[in-house]
Amino acid sequence: MIEAAGEDALLIRFGDAIDSALPAQIAELCQRIEALELPWLVDLVPSYTTLLVIYDPITINVLDAKARLRPLLSETPSADQTKAEAADSRLIELPVYYSEETGPDLAWIAEQKGLSVQQVIDRHTADTYQVYAIGFAPGFGFMGQVDPSIACPRKDTPRTKVPAGSVGIANQQTAVYPKTSPGGWQLIGRCPTVLFDEENLSLLKAGDRVRFVSISREEYLAQGGQL
């Protein structure tokens, strides 16, 4: 389904609910749109179930832009096909130093869930996550789905300062804060990898897969992590 979202954007909907098959399908459509090198294309913003296509309304009107994109939608591969393709999508490993000193909510989650701290870490590192969307802040990737046994709601009162690299959980989502910022996610550790810089922009992109790897304090510091 493709509809106008104001005078310079079209919103393509792939579904109504979060579905792990969608990021690959949306990423694939992005690639096919980019391959056309449309001179009026300004940006593509993928999210969980949608792709926002931003265009230059001075060069093309809404009807022509829709007409140009519509044929691509009917060519969209089925979910089964994209599931197979998803296996080839980029897998990024992010090292995390899980600890009390870098994850102030780690012990709280363990207690709430009746788990040991090590079990929380094991469950967070066991799964491979989909990057559903980049947003909130530059390079901030919304990832899911977190094992329900460690899923927990956002803090009632967000922290005014979450240190850069902090790894958090909010419901069934997980993310790394690329920069120090306010934030309400439950923090379980810190990642030394640079997720956003002005030259390379966002390390993660929607459609990527991510696996977290537990590292020691020494490894964290050796990789440039800050305490």
Partner: protein, 325 residues
């Protein structure tokens, strides 16, 4: 924003006022990294500031919030001041807004407090050649990129051209500023979750007035009015554009503007047209605004007409009117 001392062509900021920033038409192709579009809030005023100087359409200017700006010319340069009405002086002598002004080296340009509206634009011949990020000079303060802050005293703003304009000074025709004095009625294009809103709430949106609240910045303006009775619940986060009107659970709309986040999870009944985003952005807290439904093609036509006028008109010899090529 500070540039090396060697740059001697352009302006030196004496007092920038609160939250003055450099803006052009915003960034392209970076929103999927989570970076905002940025860009001037008021397309019309900023466009006229550049048009008065025959600048490139995308030339960077200073967006001054509520006035209170002073700068010294480091060299001969030509400037223009548009937007909210304010007392403007050169070396203490009153000058008009909405026209081209010659500054000599050492001249002090002072822009007083804005009356009735919020934003004032200062353009220079050739545009301000400050640092750029991703192909745009627009500064999005909240992202905290290196060097991307509001203007500070002693900042040097290099001008792109030393050449003075030929002929008599230009004076913008009344159409350049008359729109600002109209009652603020904002064109709203239905979109996003329009069909999920209750008919009574959609009717309320275009039949009641909303007040611009104190919580208004380049990211968005919070509006206060009769709250919607039954807005739809939160949605799965999706890409959003500046102009989108989102309605959180309290039923009070928030109009998103140039620095808004790239994705969001509140339902949205529609999107304000790009030209009327400027009209909203110009309103002071406490002002009443109204919405009026429009459609995408009308909004696109309005925007295109403005852009065509910019590109395809030339100044008459007396500098007082414009003619289509």
């Amino acid at each position: 924003m500070k540039e090396p001392e060697t740059i001697r062509h352009g302006l030196r900021v004496i007092t920038p006022g609160i939250k003055a920033t450099i803006q052009d038409l915003g960034r392209k192709g970076i929103r999927h990294h989570g970076l905002a579009r940025g860009g001037v809030l008021d397309l019309r005023s900023a466009g006229w500031a550049n048009k008065l100087l025959d600048n490139d359409r995308n030339a960077a200017c200073v967006e001054i919030v509520l006035g209170g700006f002073r700068a010294e010319a480091l060299s001969a340069c030509e400037v223009s001041v548009t937007g909210a009405q304010a007392d403007v002086t050169v070396n203490g002598k009153a000058v008009e807004m909405w026209r081209s002004l010659q500054l000599a080296p050492g001249d002090e340009l002072a822009i007083g407090h804005a009356r009735h509206h919020r934003l004032i634009y200062l353009a220079v011949r050739g545009g301000f050649e400050t640092k750029d990020w991703f192909g745009s000079r627009s500064v999005v303060v909240r992202e905290g990129l290196e060097g991307a802050g509001p203007l500070e005293p002693e900042d040097i703003l290099p001008a792109g051209s030393a050449e003075a304009l030929q002929g008599t000074p230009r004076i913008a025709p009344p159409q350049a500023w008359q729109w600002l004095e109209q009652p603020p009625v904002l064109g709203l294009v239905p979109g996003y979750q329009y069909h999920q809103f209750q008919p009574a709430d959609l009717r309320r949106l275009v039949t009641t007035e909303y007040q611009v609240s104190d919580e208004s910045d380049r990211m968005g303006y919070r509006l206060a009015g009769t709250p919607m009775a039954d807005p739809p619940p939160g949605i799965v986060s999706e890409g959003i554009v500046p102009g989108a009107v989102q309605v959180p659970g309290d039923g009070q709309p928030i109009a998103l503007l140039a620095d808004c986040q790239t994705i969001g999870g509140y339902p949205k009944p529609g999107i304000i047209t790009s030209m009327d985003c400027g009209l909203l952005a110009q309103q002071l807290p406490g002002t009443q605004i109204r919405f009026e439904w429009t459609d995408v093609l009308s909004a696109q036509n309005q925007r295109r007409l403005f852009e065509r006028h910019y590109h395809e008109t030339v100044w008459s010899e007396d500098g007082r009117s414009l003619h289509w090529r």
